[in-house]
Every structure is written in C-alpha cells, then in structure tokens.
Symmetry: C2
C-alpha cells in the first residue's frame, strides 16, 4: 500500500497537478474533517489562485479514487478526511461539534451479519453517533 496521497495518485493514474499536490498535502496534515470551504481556505493560504471549483473537483476525484472519504453529517455541508487502513466511525458531540473517531470490531461484524440475514453483501455503511458529554 502506498503511504501518501501522491503515491496513491500515481498508483491510480491520477495526474498530479500543482493544485492537487497542495490539496493532498493539506488533507494529509489535517487531523479534523474539513468541509470544502474550510479546505479552500487552507489551500488558499498556500496558493491563493486556486479556485473553489478545483477544490470541489479534486475532492470528488479523490473520493472516487478511494483517497478521501466523504461524510455528510447532520444538516450541513459535506466534510472530508483522508482514507487510511482501518475503518472507523464517528461520534459527534452535538453541543461542540467535536468529532471523535472510534473503531469497534463487534459492531462491524454485526453489520455484516445483518446484511447477510437479508440476503445482501455489504459494500458500504455509515454509522454516526450523536451525543452529549456526561457530567462526571
């Protein structure tokens, strides 16, 4: 498996333009889940001539190439994160908007089992938990 986005692009035959390199770099360094606007802001600081249309086109391309994951959390714009080994789901703090990533093997298994039960082969899934912090 290639380790970084640029290598993944090469592996998938995606042409590596200057703009794509910048977007790839920003996404690699982002520990959060930026939406296109936010990504555009970050990208603009490095090259202010990049247009938002290119950012939209690039995240879409990266998503289709399996490089980025797109999330459509409640009531908002689409948000992106780098797709790495090891699937995880999201727990969203409804007060602060903070997003916690978690992995739970048991729940993954259970999902496969359910799809199976209905005669389906699971190709994708989405699990989002929305919660409020408990008082200690």
């Amino acid at each position: 498996m290639p380790e970084n986005i640029e290598q993944k692009c090469l592996a998938k035959g995606v042409k590596l333009t200057e703009q794509r390199k910048i977007i790839a770099k920003i996404m690699s360094e982002s520990k959060d889940h930026p939406d296109v606007d936010e990504l555009y802001n970050r990208v603009s600081k490095i090259d202010s001539k990049i247009s938002i249309a290119t950012v939209y086109r690039t995240v879409k391309l990266f998503e289709e190439s399996g490089i980025l994951a797109k999330h459509e959390f409640k009531g908002g714009k689409a948000r992106y994160e780098e797709l790495n080994e090891g699937h995880h789901d999201h727990l969203i703090d409804v007060k602060s908007g903070e997003i916690i990533e978690f992995v739970d093997e048991e729940i993954e298994k259970l999902q496969k089992k359910i799809a199976d039960k209905y005669g389906y082969h699971l190709v994708d899934h989405k699990l989002e938990l929305y919660g409020v912090k408990k008082k200690t």
Copy 2:
C-alpha cells in the same frame, strides 16, 4: 400515545390546516421514504394548489415535532418517513435504491455502550448499510 399524525399535531399544539392534513395523510399512507419532490407530487394530486414551500415548511415542522424522521441517504435529497414506536435502521440496495428497514437490539445496545465508553450520553444516531443482493 396518539395513533395518527393529526392526533399528534393536536397533542403538540400544531395548528391543523387543510394542507397539513393532506400531507399528514399522504405520509401515513406511504410505505416508502419519499423526498420532498415526490411528496409534493403526491400531495398535488389531492390539492394542486398546495405549494412546494408549504411542503418544505410542513415536513420541517413535523420533524421538529417528532412526527416525521428525516433521512439524508447518500448523494441525494432529504427523504422522510413517519416516526413510530420502535426505532429502525436502513439497509439500502445500491443497485435498485430499494430500502429495507430493520431492527436490531444488539446493535442498539452496542451503540449506547460505545458512546458510554467515550463519556457520552447518546442522543441520536444514524446507521445505514449499503449492499448488493447476493446471488442465491
């Protein structure tokens, strides 16, 4: 618990207009998960003067009143269904778009447990499985 949408409206102090009655009726009778456009089509057959703005306002109001559930499945418009006792999740056939509802107690419990583990109290969640039919 009131059994139908009109009773729920009364119970929640939602004014029962002619338009809302029609929308409520259509939603009650719908076994699928129509989007606003589709709902507007169905509603128009009964009263062609109802505007799409009213449909949008009404589904939003009904959602806030806990009468309808809003779903934002992949890559599309928001879709609605009547909210009844007994939570269920969705298994979506990615080929045909068919939606299967399912209930799984085990997965519900597991979700609470995960939220708990991170110090959160679960207020909402979204689980969608996307699958393709298995060959028999």
